[in-house]
């Protein structure tokens, strides 16, 4: 470490490579210092606890449902190849993908519509998107149970339309509906943020270049809003995969999804090592997917 004058407001000197290097170092240190509070916070209050869970995943459930922290083994990971785990995984992936897709299809035009409103109107519209979510999520799920349930408003509608009494409650459809309801705002917010900052002249340019409305959406708007699409999809897909309250309340627990399965391992089977292994693998897959996406040139969320 050579003693080099750092860029100081008072001093002024002829620039040297050492000074430049010191300036770059100082800039880097500024960034680091800015990140440091959150960094150390997350290390202490997230990474360290996480290490405990990872350690648990190599341990063994003892006969009382406690965890013996000796006799390390990979048994919990070996179980991941069982057909029941595979079935649950595929089913959950499918439902989570479906939920994400539906959210995308609904949220995209909505976010676009929002972005074309005047600032005052769009702020108001955004707030009204968020307000329902300031009520308790259990209460919201229960409200859906009433709507979809026996003699609820939904069956009234299907009857009135002449479809007969169609009850949706306790079906996969109801689960997807509940998930879409729960996570739609997570899709709308980033999509809106992404679309709002697109320069609209680009769209005008595409129309000028003979693109139809659909084409300019397909070739200009969609690619430009891709960061929003990806961010929204991650924010919807991840919690959908881990959801367990909605499948329980609206799906009647008839189909076990990954989230419920992990909860079952921790809270019912009291098999913490297996629960830890399941969640650890889930996180690893998610993290790899996002990292690969960003390495391939994706922008920040």
């Amino acid at each position: 470490m050579t003693a080099v004058e750092l860029p100081s407001d008072a001093e002024s000197a002829v620039a040297t490579p050492e000074f430049e290097a010191a300036a770059i170092r100082q800039e880097s240190r500024r960034g680091f210092l800015l990140a440091l509070p959150s960094y150390s916070y997350l290390v202490l209050f997230f990474a360290v606890p996480l290490v405990i869970v990872v350690v648990y995943s190599f341990a063994t459930r003892n006969r009382f449902g406690g965890t013996d922290l000796s006799g390390w083994n990979l048994a919990s990971y070996a179980r991941l190849s069982e057909p029941i785990v595979r079935d649950i995984l595929f089913r959950s992936l499918w439902l989570a993908l479906l939920t994400t897709l539906i959210c995308l299809v609904i949220a995209y035009p909505f976010a676009y519509y929002l972005a074309t409103r005047t600032p005052v109107v769009r702020n108001l519209m955004l707030v009204f998107v968020m307000i329902p979510f300031w009520t308790n999520f259990l209460v919201r799920n229960y409200a859906w149970r009433v709507i979809l349930g026996n003699d609820g408003p939904f069956t009234d509608v299907t009857e009135a339309v002449g479809l007969g009494e169609r009850e949706l409650l306790f079906s996969k459809t109801a689960v997807v509906l509940g998930l879409v309801y729960s996570f739609l705002p997570f899709m709308i917010l980033p999509l809106y943020a992404a679309i709002e900052r697109i320069d609209k002249r680009l769209l005008e340019a595409s129309r000028d270049l003979y693109a139809s409305g659909w084409q300019s959406f397909r070739k200009v708007l969609l690619p430009l809003s891709m960061p929003g699409v990806i961010a929204g999809s991650i924010l919807v897909f991840v919690p959908s995969l881990g959801a367990y309250v909605t499948p329980d309340i609206l799906g009647g627990s008839k189909t076990t999804l990954l989230g419920s399965y992990i909860v079952t391992q921790f809270l019912t089977a009291r098999n913490w090592p297996f629960g830890a292994a399941l969640s650890f693998v889930l996180m690893a897959v998610m993290l790899t997917t996002t990292v690969v996406y960003f390495r391939k040139g994706g922008r920040t969320l």
Partner: protein
Amino acid sequence: MSRPTSSAVEPRGWTKGLLRANGWLVYAFFYAPILLLVIFSFSDSRNVGVWGGFTLDWYEEFVDSRQTQAALWNSVKIAVVSTAISVVLGTMSALALERFKFRGKQVFDALLYLPIIIPDVTMAVMMLLFFAEFFEVLNAVFGTELRKGFSSIALSHIAFSISFVSVVVRARLAGMSGHLEEAARDLYASRWKAFRFVTFPQILPGILGGALLAMTISLDDVVITQFVTGPGWTTLPVYVFGLIRRGVTPLINAVSVVMLMASMTLVALSLLVERVRNVGTNQRRGF
């Protein structure tokens, strides 16, 4: 002056109709259950979904119920404190990641994603194990008498809220040209002033969005809170979750309605303040 009117990209004809219809449908979708829960908060029946005639009993019960009120206040206190702290920390980390290069940046970036993708029951379990030991170690070393409760819940909520805030703020920062900050520096602003007078107002919508998200998640969290709570710190969702076993009564609907009214009042007030402060137009680039 109003915004520039119809241009080539302004949706027209049936596209416009479809967009508008979709908008209304989305709101209908969002508010259908809310309407229902408001209605049943006035229902004279223990069961949500069974109309038993109009009553204000549930509101009365709310006013009388020490436990419900305590739970509501606990939730609000924790949400406010954890949101405030995580907004500061999350914004700082967003700035660091978006505007600086430093060693360990990738590790930090990855670390920031983990709280978003971790299943909450897993986080709950690990926080439980952690706090049991953490406080014990602190108490042994420093002779303190720390107990699980407010601090452990708030610390856990901050741990996941930082990530959500930082994601939203980063999205906003990424869309903001770094030239603005340079221009401010060129115009004699110190680093802090450049942040205070240029960067901050620019990313404020992102910060507010992040804060809303963090607050919503904090107000809804059950599992993590349940595992790190201590005596007297039952939050509203945990309380409601416990109630399920004996049936969620319209009391909870009434609590939700009270919360809705409170938040709507806050929104209305803030809009009013904005209106008063911001006489004149508030036109921005873009759509």
